[in-house]
Subunit: 205 residues, 2 copies
Amino acid sequence: MRRKEFEVTDQEAIESFLRERGDGVLAFAGDDGWPKAVPLNYVYTDDGSIYFHGSKKGEKMRGLSLDAKAEFVVYEAHAFIPSYFSDPYLACPATQYFRSVRIRGTVKQVEEPAEKARALAALLGSLQPEGGHAPIDHEDPKYAPPLRGVAVLRLDIAEMTGKFKFGQNLSDERREKVMQGLAERNRPGDLRTIEEMRAAASEPE
Amino acid sequence: MRRKEFEVTDQEAIESFLRERGDGVLAFAGDDGWPKAVPLNYVYTDDGSIYFHGSKKGEKMRGLSLDAKAEFVVYEAHAFIPSYFSDPYLACPATQYFRSVRIRGTVKQVEEPAEKARALAALLGSLQPEGGHAPIDHEDPKYAPPLRGVAVLRLDIAEMTGKFKFGQNLSDERREKVMQGLAERNRPGDLRTIEEMRAAASEPE
């Protein structure tokens, strides 16, 4: 079973995580009978689509044209929690806190030039928000040939699940010990993790 | 086709990357007919095995017991290269430099208590090198019950491919422009990227 205590049902928290991050891994069945795990930059657009870009020839195209079913996962590691924060003997409480979102859906190649241009503009806008290039426009004769040459893929979302692990499974006593350990260690990100732990602990089941 | 110019054949560079990193994504076929993308901490051991741990019941166990074929990918984003480093008009040269290693193999559940204990010790050793716990020993009566309760998975490697992108595809003129842009921008990691670009450019084809 997937451990339910870490599941996030707050759609806003899931979407805000997807907008914050920029890369993930796409899993699909390869045409050689092996599962594939391909790291990709992505953009999550205001209308709730996920876009990627890539080569028109290659394993993504070959695999996904035979079976368009895919799962895309976006992951961020937060604080690592050493066992001794809450247990002086056993190693078992050691764990990694994280946020992840898994998106199941089907991947379609976008053929329409205007949608391709919009998707690439959104993708680049998230990576290069300062601009510094001519607007990506399929009617600009300088953009038309490269736009035809690149593949744009759209993941049509069927299901989206968030899993954020910030000690929700701990007793109040253990949680206090972990928060104290983080406060004393005070590595970059540790204070944010304490805030996330507080927020997660106060959420209704 | 996979773009050959970014492929890394230096086994030492691949292994050193795997030792440096601690998480990746495992792709496999789910028992519901959907591909799965599961983020996992891992350890790459001195004898060339990859180990994970997890719950004994769950989608990994269900999917992998039906079809043990998997691909595990470890990815690190390096500098994002904005288009204007090398082109004042088109957005097309914008790209992400990265290192990634993809490992294809079959996943087996480790049942033998001594191997389980060694794998968990290696996994924790990479995350908590400072120690601070009793040695993980299957003969320690305090460890035996939790060791029985946790699943340890071993990925038996059939193929391992590295792809490091640091501008190997660029002309000398473009490469110089990108290195100059990085030197001026000077964000954390940019100087390291310049070094990687220099090293990649001087490698024999």
